[in-house]
């Protein structure tokens, strides 16, 4: 009986993380192939931070900061960025978001306007940290650069967070049996 429970739990853990892994692959493909098509005056959304926020709000602090680190590192490698910058900024963002994690209100938060607001906050903090490292070696003014690109990226990413919430609405929900 006990072994049956362990097997079923293990099965469930695998399915969820497998799903996250698949989503990361999908976002990677989108990032590599289609992101330029969605660029508006060189500003693109950061879809990876949305999945970091999602994992943090669904799984908790530890899972969130680990996901932030791994996804950030992964993004640093595939985007030829300074290795560690995305890992650093996404880990911090995940840590901040983890304070909004409530075990008994997971669905309520992830399916409502709270998700949009938390995504906005997470992206804002992520961009502050990230762009700090980004323009560290240049002579540009951080505030001017952040107001131009940081806020724009935050707003654009929040638009995609809105799409995530809309996707979960009952009238638009697509049931996937895994």
């Amino acid at each position: 009986m006990k072994s049956k429970n362990i097997n079923s739990t293990f099965k469930w853990i695998n399915k969820t993380y497998l799903l996250y892994f698949l989503w990361i692959i999908v976002i990677t493909v989108f990032h590599i192939i289609f992101l330029d098509l969605f660029a508006i005056m060189d500003v693109t959304p950061d879809l990876f931070i949305i999945i970091v926020v999602w994992i943090t709000l669904k799984e908790g602090r530890l899972a969130g900061i680990l996901a932030g680190f791994v996804i950030g590192l992964y993004l640093d490698i595939i985007s030829a960025d300074v290795v560690g910058t995305n890992a650093f900024s996404k880990t911090i963002a995940a840590f901040i978001v983890s304070y909004f994690y409530k075990e008994n209100k997971i669905n309520f938060i992830t399916k409502g306007y709270q998700f949009i607001l938390i995504s906005f906050l997470a992206t804002l903090i992520h961009n502050i940290v990230y762009f700090f490292f980004y323009i560290k070696t240049s002579e540009q003014d951080f505030l001017v650069f952040y107001l131009k690109y940081g806020l724009a990226t935050t707003a654009y990413t929040t638009v995609f967070a809105i799409l995530v919430v809309l996707f979960q609405m009952p009238s638009n929900r697509i049931k996937i049996n895994v």
């Binding site: 493909v29 590599i32 192939i33 289609f34 330029d36 098509l37 660029a39 508006i40 602090r61 530890l62 900061i65 680990l66 932030g68 680190f69 950030g72 590192l73 640093d76 490698i77 595939i78 030829a80 300074v82 290795v83 560690g84 910058t85 890992a87 650093f88 880990t91 911090i92 840590f95 983890s98 490292f133």
Partner: protein, 304 residues
């Protein structure tokens, strides 16, 4: 030990967070390491390959920016090409001018054309050299191709050149091969015309025409043009010789002033002789007129 483990267990999230932050910062600091660069090269190659597979998907924004950049670059390059063409033309002109300076028997004063104008079928060019540069009225002007005109007036720093395409131009010329002398005139079109060549004289198309020794204004042996057509004029003893000017009318920006002025004593003698001939001619005409009048008076008297 138990307390330490309990502490770690209670705050494991914070400890792991701290460890990950330290690892991230360490990675940032060792970013320039060769091993990471090598690994990244493989990843970038893979990503580049995937992007290349989907490069057929059109990107409107990128295309628009690319078009805008290309248009700007095109305009800039067109300007540069125009400047280079002008420089090449000038270069070729100057090279041929250098040749003529070294081969000329006369001293040449180079100058630039500052303006060109046409007043009542009389065509002039203004050059940027004047009396301060030893320019005098009566000096001939030529280009690297041939004779262009003559200085008609000069100020301290500028001079006016009366060009060949002027109605009062009369240049004594000679054909180089057949050595036939004639007078070159302009009749309003693109050619000059060599006159006083009888139909019996043999003159060839393609012959070069130069100024002759008979000229008192122009130095001799300066190329003027080339015969392009020989036509027979009905009711005349002379042929009509079409001469293409060596230097195209108005097609020059740099010229040379030939530092040669006819000897004033020679000019004075010529003028004196001309005046004498005119006086003799006039006297002849007067005598003929008076004779005629006398004969008319006699006939009217006899009728009476």
């Amino acid at each position: 030990m138990y307390k330490l483990l309990k502490l770690f267990n209670d705050f494991k999230d914070y400890f792991i967070f701290l460890i990950l932050i330290i690892v991230s910062l360490s990675l940032i600091s060792i970013n320039s390491k060769q091993e990471i660069g090598g690994f990244r090269a493989v990843i970038i190659g893979g990503v580049g390959y995937i992007q290349k597979l989907f490069s057929w998907i059109p990107n409107q924004d990128a295309l628009r920016n690319s078009n805008k950049t290309l248009i700007e670059l095109n305009i800039q390059l067109s300007k540069e090409v125009a400047m280079m063409r002008k420089a090449l033309h000038e270069n070729n002109e100057l090279r041929s001018m250098l040749n003529i300076v070294s081969n000329s028997q006369y001293k040449l004063i180079p100058c630039d054309v500052t303006s060109k104008r046409s007043i009542q079928m009389r065509n002039f060019a203004t050059i940027n050299k004047g009396t301060a540069d030893s320019i005098q009225v009566g000096m001939s002007v030529c280009s690297e191709a041939g004779l262009v005109g003559i200085i008609t007036s000069a100020s301290e720093h500028f001079a006016m050149v009366e060009l060949l395409n002027n109605r009062n131009i009369k240049i004594p010329v000679v054909s180089l091969e057949t050595r036939l002398d004639g007078i070159l005139k302009w009749e309003g079109d693109e050619y000059l015309y060599m006159q006083n060549i009888s139909k019996s004289s043999k003159i060839n198309v393609g012959e070069i025409i130069t100024t002759s020794l008979f000229s008192s204004k122009y130095p001799n042996n300066i190329t003027v043009g080339k015969i392009v057509k020989v036509a027979e004029e009905p009711g005349s003893y002379f042929s009509k010789i079409y001469v293409e000017p060596a230097c195209r009318f108005f097609n020059f920006s740099q010229l040379f002033v030939i530092n040669y002025v006819p000897n004033p004593e020679e000019l004075g003698l010529l003028k004196e002789f001309e005046n004498e001939m005119i006086m003799i001619e006039n006297a002849k005409k007067d005598r003929q007129k008076s004779k005629k009048n006398n004969s008319q008076d006699n006939s009217s008297d006899s009728k009476k």
